[in-house]
Structure formats: C-alpha cells, structure tokens
C-alpha cells in the first residue's frame, strides 16, 4: 500500500502540495483527480523519490521508495511516456531496467509481448507513436511484477483498443490484490475503472472516498423530462420550488425531485409527457462541484470529504 502523511512541496513561493495525507489500499483501483496544477504529478514524483518533499513522507509498503534495493520488484510506475532516450530501442530500454533489479532478461520479451510491442521491440523509440511509448512505459512498470503500481494518465495516446486493454489490465491488477493508483483528467474513464477516488485541489485533499459515495453524495440527482407544453410544464415544476433548466431539444432538467414526483406534477398540471427519466449523476458533475468548492473558498481550506477511515 501507499501511505502519504503531511506531504508538502514548496517551489519558492508556490505551494504545490500542501499537507496531503491519504492511503492507497491494495486490491482496488484508486483514481487520483484534480485540476491542472493541483499537485497530482508532484505527489507521484515524491512517492517515487524523484522530488524531495519539503515536509511529510510518502511510504510504499512501509518504506521510503528511495531505500528500495530492487524497486522494480516492489513498485511499477508510468509517469511521462516521453521521458526516455529516443535513440535506444524499446527492448534495450527494458534491458537497462531489468539489469537494475536483477530481473531475468526473458521477462523483457514477456512484457513486450504482453503490451503488444513484440514486433516493434528492436525499433528505436524515436520512431514510436505516443501510444507505443505509453505501452513501453506500461511494460517497464509491469517488468518486475510489482505489488504497487502508479500510472499518470495511462490512456493518453492510446486508441480505443488500447483504452479497453488498459481498463482490463488495471482491473486485473487490482483484482490480484495489487495497489493501483491512476491519475487521469478523463473523468468518464476514471468513473469506469476506479473503485476509490482521491481528489485534490491547490495541493490539498478535497475528497477521499469510494467512487459510488462521491457520485451519490455530491452529484445532485436530476430528472430529464419532455412534454407537450414545455412552458406550462416548467411553470408547474417550479411552483413547488424545484430547479428547472433547459436540457436541449425541448427537454427540461429538473433538480431536487425524483422521476415519480415530476411525473405526478406533470399529471396534476395536465401536461402529457413524452419522456421521463432519472439522470445518473456523472463524475464530471461531482468533480466540478468538489473542485469548485476548492476554488470558491480560496483563503479557507475546505474540509476534506472522507467516507472511509481517516488517515492517521
């Protein structure tokens, strides 16, 4: 597992990560969300010992990453797929990695085949597409069969097949009991693969809960409705205090009521309905609400939303 306590990183006057504490548990995919510049990549870099924290600590299986003798056997990470020597072949890149942790060289061929790069293994990396570099980075992360994996934007540059593959891979890794932390700005993608979410804004923790809890607790339920007389229908729904907004194509989006309640109000107003459905709250909605709080209260830090046991 990954344990982060009071992690802080200051670059001059800029506080990139501010007293961050959370755990990433094994057996689940944990999504790591936040707006650009929220401190996600800086946090991951500190976990991996690439940047030194100004304060606090990040432990992997109870130890600082920088003390590991065979790091690839403990932690696999994909941070920046473009961060590698373009003149080296994909196979050579992994050979260097394998030698550092005493990993058998046959494992290099195995992971290259696993990520679909077997045919391009002897080509120089400068000829790789972004998706191929992404797959090479994932191969390096999987090389030591590690228990802890960190992926920063793993679906960037992947085609549809690649996205489906990475979705299945992350699920499999978590189901095998590994600790999986994934950052992504593609909220729909995270909603599909993450069991838990850690949301940060301005370097501070905003939420640390399961995906369902965040969707249920923060994304306000809505009802989509379309009727014969839109104006009469909107007036009937607003009368008891519901919030009604245009939903495009003559639809109305109603907040604060269930589909049954909306149907009953339309019936009472004698408006025939052509469409009535609950709108499942999206992660995007919940995310904007959460990060909006962080932006709104700039000088008073928002209390983190936690539904799990708080970090000690």
């Amino acid at each position: 597992m990954i344990r982060i306590r009071g992690l802080t990183k200051r670059y001059g006057t800029v506080l990139a990560v501010d007293d961050l504490s959370f755990d990433v548990e094994p057996g689940a995919v944990t999504g790591f969300l936040g707006p650009n510049g929220a401190g996600k990549s800086t946090t991951m870099r500190m976990v991996l010992g690439l940047d030194r924290p100004t304060a606090g600590e990040a432990l992997v299986d109870g130890r600082p990453f920088a003390t590991l003798a065979e790091p690839l056997r403990r932690v696999g990470a994909l941070l920046d797929p473009g961060a590698l020597h373009p003149g080296r072949t994909g196979r050579s890149h992994l050979l260097v990695a394998a030698r550092t942790s005493g990993i058998p060289l046959r494992r290099v061929e195995e992971v290259l085949d696993e990520v679909g790069l077997g045919g391009a293994a002897r080509r120089r990396v400068k000829g790789y597409s972004l998706g191929m570099r992404q797959r090479l980075g994932i191969a390096a992360a999987l090389l030591g069969d590690p228990r802890v994996l960190l992926f920063d934007e793993p679906v960037n540059g992947l085609d549809l097949d690649g996205v489906r593959w990475i979705r299945g891979l992350l699920r499999r890794l978590a189901d095998e009991g590994r600790t999986v932390l994934v950052s992504s700005h593609l909220l729909g993608e995270v909603q599909q693969i993450a069991d838990r979410l850690v949301v940060i804004g301005r370097g501070r923790l905003i939420a640390d809960a399961t995906t369902e809890e965040i969707l249920g607790g923060l994304g306000r339920p809505q009802v989509r409705v379309r009727g014969a007389r839109a104006d009469d229908l909107a007036a009937a729904l607003r009368r008891p205090g519901l919030t009604v907004a245009p939903g495009g194509d003559g639809d109305l989006l109603v907040e604060g009521a269930t589909a049954e309640e909306v149907g009953a109000l339309a019936h009472a107003a004698d408006v025939p309905l052509w469409h009535l459905s609950d709108v499942r709250p999206s992660l995007e909605q919940a995310y904007l609400e959460l990060t909006g709080v962080a932006t709104e209260f700039v000088t008073t830090a928002p209390a983190p939303v936690r539904t799990a046991e708080p970090a000690r």
């Binding site: 870099r45 961060a83 003149g87 050979l95 590994r178």
Partner: protein, 261 residues
Amino acid sequence: MTALPIDARPVSGGRVLARTCAAEWTRLWTVAATWWFLAAAAVVCTGIGVAAGSEAAADPAEELTAWGVIAFAVVPAQFALLALALTAGTADHTTGGIVPTLQWTPRRPVLLGARVLVVVGTTAGLGVLVAGAAALAVGAVHGPALGLPAGEGGTLLATVALVVGAGAGLALGLALLLRSTAGALVAVVLLEFVLPLFLGNAGFAWARALAEWLPGSSAVFLLTGEPAQLSTAEAVPVVLGWAAGALVLGGLRLLRGDADR
C-alpha cells in the same frame, strides 16, 4: 483476490552496485552516439598518427617511435572520448530519461558511483584501446623507422588512461552539474583547449601562470612533455583535482536536486 507475497530477499549493497554498473554499461552501449564517438576517436588518432608518422619517419634525427607520434595524436582524439563521457552524463537530463533512471535506481549514491565507475572506466579503457591500435597502425605503415618499444608503450598507455580518465571525470562532472550538453561541451572545450592555449600564449605572466593550473595544459604536458616548465608532480594533481572537483559538484546536484530535465 490474490494476496501477493512480499519479496523480502535481502540484497547486499555490493550486489545493487554491481547490477547498477551492468545497467549503466548497457545504457552506454545501446545508443549509437557511443559508437560514433569511438569511431571518431579511432579515425582521428590513427589518421593523425599515420600522417604525422610520415614526417617523423622521414627525419631519423628526431628518433621518434610510433608511441611518440601517437602521444601527439591522442591530444585531439581525446575530445571525441570526452564528448562520449559528457553525453553519457547529460543524456538522462536532456531526454527526460532521468525519470525512469531514478525509478529503477532510487538510491542516488549508488547511481552516481556506478555512473562514475562505468563512464570514466570505459572512457579511459577506450583511450588505451584507441591509442594502442593507432600505434600498431603507425608501426605497420612506417615499418622499422618508427618502432614500438614495449617499455615506452606501457608508459604511454598508462598516461593515456590517466589523462583520458581524468578528462572523462571532468566532462561527466560538468555534465551532471550543468545538465546541458551544449553548456557542458563549451565548458570542457574552454578548460581543456581554448583557455590553456590562449592564456598560455598571452603576454602576461599571470595569464601564463593561470594556464598552468588548467586541466588542458597538464593533460597536454603529460602526453607530450610540452610545455617544458611543467612537471609530472604538478600536472597529475591538476588533472585529478579538476576531475574530482567537477564530480563532487555534479554529484551533489544529482544527490540533492529534484530529478528535473
């Protein structure tokens, strides 16, 4: 869900260093630049050696050997080998490769030690190889006029190892310190060639005295015996001191700094 076992095998520090050295060796030889720099050093050393050997062979009064000719040819040829060491130090920072490098070897003192051992050791070894092969070529082309006495050869090859190894240490240290190929290359050329040449020929005594403390002056003296006012006892500490100083400064930046490009 499968509970994965924790691999808790103890790994000694020596084994970690040996593995990191193996990785550095692979890192060095799996980029084309290493082979190009080696080829350039061999061509320059052999080419200049054979050309200069024609002149020396035509004037027996000079009593030069093939080794003596090669001592002069190593002076320009060493720059290709210093460039090899320099790019081995900057490549991680100019390409972003430092990110995976430190993920795979997070113990930075181990990475630094392995990089110094492999890059400096390899560059010094290649210097010996290039000089030895070039001397054999000169001996083969110019026959008995330019001989290959074993004693002189041993001394010259040991000197080449010292000069090229110290130069590689300086280049690698500056590469780790500056993290820029252009910046480090300018610094190496200034210290090893331009400043010693201009200051050494300046009309001021203080400039000539300063030139004697630069690594380029001592490197040339150790190889060729010129300028005569220097001595081996002075020149050896100068080349080693510059290399050690640059490696300490570059090493501190690697050990203490964030892993930036």
